[in-house]
């Protein structure tokens, strides 16, 4: 086989392979090549049970970011959730963050209810208003033991 033909075929093969690899890692694996179009804010929750890092952050049902990481704050005894919000999305400083479940057994995600304040949370800032995860078992046991008001 001629060298040029060999090189062409190998070139096509490598190109197809790399395209597939890129599709897998960027589209499916959500690998970020450019990290500049996000900013980080954090929020403290009394309980985040079930929320995982990588969970989506939604406003009005539209994904605007992801949960970056969740750490325990020993001083105040709360869970601190770091969120990566897309750069174009501005959050008022009275926005309410709540941990919600998709359906009854679905994934946990973070819902942001937009506030009316004029002030905008800066990068690295904190969301003050939070609502913890609804504990479905607790609700159920309250219902069974008849303590629902």
């Amino acid at each position: 086989m001629k060298r040029a033909a060999l090189e062409t075929i190998v070139g096509i093969f490598v190109l197809v392979g790399i395209l597939c690899l890129a599709y897998l890692s960027i589209k499916l694996g959500k690998m970020e090549l450019i990290g500049g179009d996000y900013y980080e804010v954090h929020a403290d929750f009394a309980s985040v049970s079930g929320l995982k890092s990588g969970a989506s952050v939604e406003i009005a049902g539209v994904e605007v970011g992801r949960v970056e990481r969740i750490v325990f704050e020993p001083k105040s005894g709360v869970a601190r959730v770091y969120l990566r919000i897309r750069a174009g999305v501005e959050l008022a400083d009275d926005v309410i963050a709540s941990v919600r479940t998709r359906g009854i057994i679905g994934d946990k995600f973070l819902q942001l209810k937009p506030g009316g304040s004029e002030k905008i949370i800066a990068a690295g800032g904190r969301i003050r208003e939070t609502e913890s995860a609804i504990d479905f078992e607790e609700l159920l046991s309250k219902y069974i033991h008849g303590q629902v008001e």
Binding site: F13, G17, L21, L28, G29
Partner: protein, 256 residues
């Protein structure tokens, strides 16, 4: 008649010796890749032989694997009323497990056996000795390009396998069985993490090393005559397939 204890000892020693020789072979080959890299044309030829020529066999097996996953996944998931999860079931099983392993097994069957036969025949017709007589390093021409070629080609084939399989599952799940196409891709994108893709690629790189290593070794130490080559080819295919599956288990437990 030697006693059984003696036989056991002899068997263990010969196994140990074989393993030692194999490890030596790999270390020497890796050393040769770094110390005296051959011409790129040799690697290019191996990329063509191991990679490009395996494309159609990979395409065929991947599309049918994806299609059967779509069928089986639909059958199971429909019992729970969650056909929407079909995309993530197909994609995760392909990317994490089936893509790397099946593409490695196909490469073993198609290219690995040929590597062993090629080197084995060169061995029994004393071409390897001839190379050495001319002060040419046989590793540089025979072994190193094959290992480098396999390490590059196998992960690429695995990526092709994954993507083709995902679209095979799409074909059956969405076009034939009527799963919502948006749900198929959305669930898939939601559940596949970078870690899954990464561990699949690490797996298939290591499978590339295993296949080329075992197949070159078996050919290089083939016995005498045509029978020796045939035995070497058989044992190369069996051994690399078994090693791929065993190594897959341990690698998965490390990477998980």
């Amino acid at each position: 008649m030697p006693n059984p204890v003696e036989q056991l000892g002899a068997l263990s020693l010969s196994l140990l010796r074989e393993m030692g020789r194999m490890v030596n072979f790999l270390v020497y080959a890796l050393y040769k890749i770094i110390s005296s890299p051959g011409k790129p044309i040799h690697i290019l030829k191996q990329l063509y032989f191991i990679g490009a020529k395996s494309f159609f066999v990979i395409f065929l097996t991947a599309s049918f694997t994806g299609m059967v996953l779509g069928l089986q996944g639909y059958y199971t998931l429909t019992k729970f009323g969650s056909e929407g999860m079909l995309g993530s079931a197909v994609a995760l099983s392909l990317i994490r497990e089936l893509g790397p392993v099946l593409s490695a097994l196909m490469v073993t069957g198609r290219a690995g056996s040929a590597i062993t036969a090629e080197i084995g025949i060169m061995k029994i017709t004393e071409q390897i000795d001839a190379l050495r007589t001319m002060a040419l390093e046989p590793f540089k021409y025979l072994v190193s390009p094959k290992i480098v070629g396999a390490v590059i080609a196998v992960p690429l084939l695995c990526a092709i396998f994954d993507v083709v399989g995902i679209y095979g599952g799409y074909l059956v799940g969405v076009k034939l069985l009527g799963v919502n196409p948006g749900a198929y891709f959305h669930e898939m994108e939601k559940s596949v993490e970078w870690k899954d893709v990464y561990s699949g690629i690490i797996k298939s790189i290591s499978f590339g090393v295993i296949i080329s290593w075992v197949c070159c070794y078996k050919g290089y130490y083939a016995g005498h005559g045509a029978e020796g080559v045939s035995r070497a080819t058989t044992s190369a295919v069996v051994m690399s397939s078994v090693l791929v599956l065993i190594w897959d288990y341990f690698l998965t437990s490390i990477l998980l």
